[in-house]
């Protein structure tokens, strides 16, 4: 009996929480494949440091997954699963070449970590295998999503309010638009290369 009560309280609490938070959803078109959509920084608002540590693998001469979206301040681990030596570097973050970084080379099975404190797209490259490419998209807020292959996305748990939302796609120009979330917000993007 007691347990049922706790459940009820929990469900009510969740419902009331979601009532003040909504979703942003929509579709990114004009490009093919995965895109990233994220909410731009909100003035005067900070977010707790993320604790998740996503792993990007180098396997079969490829970065896997090809696109990873993270919140600003996230530490990403780079793993080498190949029996050949790789190297990971990026020439810029969000187009700013000052944030370029070379993590060097490490043996199979080992990882090297890096904390991404600046927002924007990070093109990952390997200087011995120039065909290798991957992206980390660093979102300034915890509100971001990677679209599915056909461009559909849904960002959950966005508090009600007005935001600027940006869509990013490999090789395309970023596109931003204002979105008001009151339970639900909609934003469709058409990107051009």
């Amino acid at each position: 009996m007691k347990r049922t009560w706790i459940m009820v309280v929990a469900v009510v609490a969740m419902l009331s929480f979601t009532a003040s938070a909504g979703t942003i959803s929509g579709k990114v078109s004009g490009v093919t494949g995965e895109s990233v959509v994220y909410v731009e920084a909100v003035a005067g608002k900070t977010f707790p440091a993320p604790t998740e540590k996503p792993v990007i693998d180098q396997k079969g001469l490829m970065f896997t997954p090809h696109i990873v979206a993270v919140e600003q301040g996230t530490t990403v681990e780079f793993l080498n699963s190949d029996k050949v030596a790789h190297n990971v570097f990026w020439p810029s973050v969000g187009g700013n070449k000052k944030f370029s970084k070379n993590l060097g080379t490490w043996p199979q099975g080992e990882k090297r970590a890096f904390k991404f404190d600046n927002p924007g797209a990070v093109p990952l490259l390997c200087n011995v295998h120039p065909e290798m490419g991957g992206y980390i998209v660093v979102s300034p807020t915890p509100y971001f999503a990677v679209t599915d292959k056909s461009g559909n996305y849904k960002i959950e748990n966005v508090p009600d309010g007005s935001y600027s939302v940006t869509a990013w796609h490999e090789g395309a120009k970023n596109s931003s638009k204002p979105v008001t979330v009151a339970g639900e917000g909609k934003a469709d993007f058409t990107l051009t290369k």
């Binding site: 079969g60 011995v128 295998h129």
Partner: protein, 500 residues
């Protein structure tokens, strides 16, 4: 020796040039199978980096864990478990999932200074007239290579056309290589492999994978004796393709490497005109005698970090790179050159033993590579005896020479080259001094400095330039020994090439 007119020599050298640069090459087929760029294996294609050397040594496979890198799965010619049935089944192998084809095309533009034509004294047109500028189509070649499973590697490359015509096209290399066959005899890994077919000899620096537009002169040096006193007419050149088999072991990227090849006797020394008659048609060689080529080298990898020293590539702060290394090597070739001569008692066959012997070194620091080779050549000479019934030894025909080259990859797409080529042949000198000069814009006087620069427009498209600077020469001297009509056969050559 009436064939040694200037036009003949000129065309011979031109042909040598195209043939010598014609054999094996960068293989876009591997790019396709592995989904990777040319630069995974090449510094500036076709020159291999340390990883490329390991890939080649392993039988055109990634040295470790090959399957995990293949983007196109191979086609099974038998389930792997068929092995257990053997010898009651065909041993299961594989073929590449995509036709393993790579193609290459190149073209040239050449500039020769006006003074190059001064070797035709007094405006005579006895020799060839060399145009100042010339557009030339080069090679269109097809390359097929890969691995059939069980560590059996294959390579076939063929020139579909040369110089815009199909008549000069021909097979470059064509062979099967049984990699690591030594495991059958429980020998250490990679200590014994077997290669069978037609191949470029295991030269210290592969002519086929040279980045230079013109070949190293020493590799194209034939030994043709001084007319009149030396009956040596050996057109064998070290860069020529050979047919036979080769055993080899070790690695090109670290430690020891050896090879020993048994190849067809060189019979190309026969000439079809009198007094020589051609060798019997339909055979590559005309006797059971076989020529032999051997090579041994040792490469010291000099990385301070011992873990890195033992890897295929050294680990640099900014990514894997070629080792800092010093390689030393030696090589020899021993064979016989055949000539047939109409004697008084019928056709006489002279089999003149010859050998080539040399040493080489290569020092590499990051993207700077300094390397060189020295070779000595010696042909025994058999002269017709006075009664023309047999042969009697004459003075040997000798030459020596080599090259020194520095390659520096200034940017990942810009290669700078400085090389020095020298061949010293007394027979060449004597044969020329009384007659026309040993001339060719591409082979020439065998003494030159050749700076070059190459640009990778893309990883598979290359624009290359080189300028061969040769000493001043003259055919005619006045009574004070002053050169008349002096000329230089400097040549600027540009090449545009693509592989796909």
């Amino acid at each position: 020796m009436r064939f040694r007119g200037p036009l003949f020599v000129f065309s011979l050298l031109l042909l040598t040039f195209f043939f010598a640069t014609a054999s094996s090459f960068a293989i876009p087929a591997f790019s396709r199978q592995y989904g990777t760029s040319c630069t995974t294996c090449h510094v500036d294609y076709p020159k291999l980096n340390d990883f490329g050397k390991a890939f080649k040594d392993a039988g055109f496979k990634f040295p470790k864990d090959d399957e995990s890198f293949l983007k196109v799965p191979p086609v099974m010619l038998g389930a792997p478990a068929q092995k257990e049935l053997w010898p009651h089944t065909v041993f299961p192998g594989t073929i590449p999932g995509l036709p393993p084809i790579g193609l290459r095309y190149n073209q040239f533009f050449q500039y020769t200074p006006a003074s190059a034509n001064n070797y035709n004294p007094g405006g005579s047109t006895a020799g060839p007239n060399v145009p100042r500028t010339d557009f030339e189509s080069g090679l269109f070649s097809i390359f097929m290579a890969g691995n059939f499973g069980s560590d059996i590697a294959f390579w076939v490359d063929d020139d579909l056309s040369v110089s815009g015509a199909n008549s000069n096209g021909g097979l470059g290399d064509g062979y099967l290589k049984f990699v690591n066959i030594g495991r059958v005899f429980k020998l250490p890994t990679d200590s014994l492999s077997l290669r069978v077919g037609q191949f470029e000899l295991d030269l210290p620096f592969s002519q086929a994978r040279s980045i230079n537009i013109s070949p190293w002169d020493i590799y194209t040096q034939a030994n043709i004796g001084f007319s009149g006193s030396q009956n040596v007419n050996n057109v064998f050149a070290l860069g020529d393709a050979a047919q036979g088999f080769e055993i080899s072991g070790g690695h090109q990227y670290a430690g020891y490497h050896y090879s020993l090849a048994i190849v067809n006797q060189n019979t190309s020394g026969t000439s079809s005109g009198a007094p020589n008659v051609s060798s019997p048609g339909g055979f590559f060689s005309d006797s059971n005698y076989k020529d032999i080529y051997g090579r041994f080298s040792y490469r010291f990898n000099l990385e301070k970090d011992s873990a890195s020293r033992h890897e295929v590539q050294a680990a640099g702060a900014t990514g894997p790179r070629d080792h800092t290394s010093l390689a030393l090597g030696t090589f020899f070739f021993k064979g016989r050159s055949v000539q047939r001569i109409d004697g008084d008692t019928g056709v006489l066959t002279a089999r003149e033993p010859f050998y080539r012997f040399g040493g080489d070194f290569s020092f590499n620091y990051r993207t700077f590579n300094l390397f060189g080779l020295y070779m000595y050549g010696h042909d025994d000479d058999l002269l017709l005896n006075s009664g023309a019934t047999g042969f009697t030894p004459g003075p040997a025909a000798k030459f020596n020479g080599g090259f020194l080259e520095a390659d520096y990859l200034a940017l990942p797409w810009v290669m700078t080259i400085l090389r020095y080529d020298r061949v010293q042949s007394s027979a060449d000198f004597l044969s020329q001094s009384g007659g026309v000069n040993y001339f060719s814009p591409v082979g020439s006087t065998r003494n030159r400095v050749t700076p070059g620069v190459q640009f990778l427009i893309h990883a598979n498209i290359k624009a290359a330039f080189e300028y061969a600077i040769r000493p001043q020469q003259a055919l005619v001297y006045d009574s004070n020994g002053k050169a008349l009509n002096a000329f230089r056969t400097n040549t600027a050559t540009g090449m545009l090439e693509f592989v796909y």
